[in-house]
């Protein structure tokens, strides 16, 4: 009797653990691959990848982002643009700004902002400003939709300037500001 009860408890515990797993999400995380060489996990890592796949409510990252992404300089090369101000406004009029680091990454933690979608976005640096043509419906990762190459289901990565030029990459960046994006030209 005691053994049966123990077995039942063990089975219930296994079921409870199994029901918490999400194989689809696990596959999405796995599909991102490992960290790039010489770029440790942190503010500079995984430029161009969809941030909230890991930094969302299902983890595995501990820090959760409301919105995050990467701004590159031009539309062809994946060179991060530093100091771009990302201005966001949600459906209730609540606003947040974030600024990109030297690989182009920016993020807003959920502890700081929980936007009511849709969200409108504008990026600005100096005299250059670009407004996103459509709104964000619900996706916190800019790079989920803005991926390379431009195709039927993506307008390509986000860039500060609409046409590629030969602007020098950011200096004094602790890691390479050039992201390795599949499909980037």
């Amino acid at each position: 009797m005691k053994a049966t009860f123990t077995l039942l408890c063990f089975g219930a515990a296994l079921l409870a653990i199994g029901s918490c797993a999400d194989p689809v999400h696990d596959l999405q995380v796995k599909a991102l691959g490992g960290e790039a060489p010489n770029i440790p996990a942190g503010d500079y890592h995984r430029a161009g990848q969809p941030c909230t796949t890991c930094h969302g409510q299902y983890g595995p990252a501990t820090k959760q982002f409301a919105i995050g992404g990467t701004i590159f300089h031009g539309p062809d090369k994946a060179i991060g643009e530093e100091g771009v101000r990302v201005e966001m406004i949600d459906a209730t009029g609540s606003q947040r700004n974030a600024t990109t680091n030297c690989v182009g990454n920016f993020f807003v933690p959920t502890s700081d902002w929980d936007p009511a979608y849709p969200v409108l976005v504008m990026i600005r640096k100096g005299a250059i400003g670009r407004t996103m043509n459509s709104h964000i419906g619900r996706e916190g990762s800019c790079n989920q939709c803005h991926k390379d190459p431009p195709s039927f289901d993506s307008p390509g990565h986000i860039s500060l300037v609409p046409n590629e030029d030969n602007a020098p990459p950011p200096q004094d960046c602790p890691v390479s500001p050039v992201a390795s994006l599949p499909g980037a030209r």
């Binding site: 459906a91 009511a116 979608y117 849709p118 409108l120 043509n133 459509s134 709104h135 964000i136 419906g137 619900r138 996706e139 989920q144 939709c145 431009p150 195709s151 039927f152 289901d153 993506s154 307008p155 390509g156």
Partner: protein, 198 residues
């Protein structure tokens, strides 16, 4: 005495089997009684009405307003601009259509090319085919009660909508645009205004 007890048990077992078998037969009969008999005179009519009208909403009117509204408001790549959506909407800034008539590839790029006529037609079919029966009911009544459709129930949040409340109420320009289209008298002004809301 022992033989008599075993005999009684065997008899009881047989009775139980008989009762179970009878219950099964009765159950089958009950289920069979619920099955309707095919009615050869009952038909579903698809096609123009006697007066020449059709029960489908007008495609030409759809192209003049509702398509642009749905494209702007619903078709982002993270919402209805996805192939798996029940209501899938193609748009210039979102998902682009597969070219089934030509070489069989995606010839248009998101955020770059203008919307094609084929995309508008496919959007129309997506909207009309979302709930074919309800759409037919609504159209057979001249579009008098468009709120029966998920197309309007969800954005009004009369029913759960992952994208939240898109239309404030029935005075929303987007609602007026879609409802007037279904009623066959497009409110172009409302459609134009619906595009100004960001």
């Amino acid at each position: 005495m022992k033989i008599s007890r075993e005999s009684a048990r065997a008899s009881e077992a047989i009775d139980v089997r008989r009762v179970a078998a009878s219950a099964c037969v009765l159950g089958f009969l009950a289920i069979a009684a619920c099955v309707s008999v095919p009615d050869k005179d009952r038909q579903t009519y698809v096609g123009p009405l006697a007066n020449g009208q059709t029960l489908a909403p007008d495609f030409t009117l759809y192209k003049s307003g509702p398509d642009a509204y749905l494209g702007k408001r619903c078709s982002t790549l993270d919402c209805h601009g996805q192939l798996g959506r029940g209501l899938r909407i193609f748009s210039p800034q979102g998902l682009r259509a597969f070219d089934a008539s030509g070489a069989g590839y995606f010839p248009l790029t998101s955020g770059k090319d203008l919307e094609s006529d084929d995309e508008k037609r496919q959007n129309f079919l997506s909207v009309v085919g979302l709930e074919p029966e309800v759409m037919t009911q609504v159209m057979s009544n001249g579009g008098a009660d468009p709120q029966k459709l998920l197309l309007l129930k969800k954005p009004l949040l009369y029913e759960g909508h992952k994208g939240g409340q898109v239309m404030v109420d029935i005075s929303d320009p987007g609602y007026k645009c879609l409802a007037s289209w279904l009623q066959g008298a497009l409110d172009q002004d409302a459609c134009d205004k619906s595009l100004l809301v960001r």
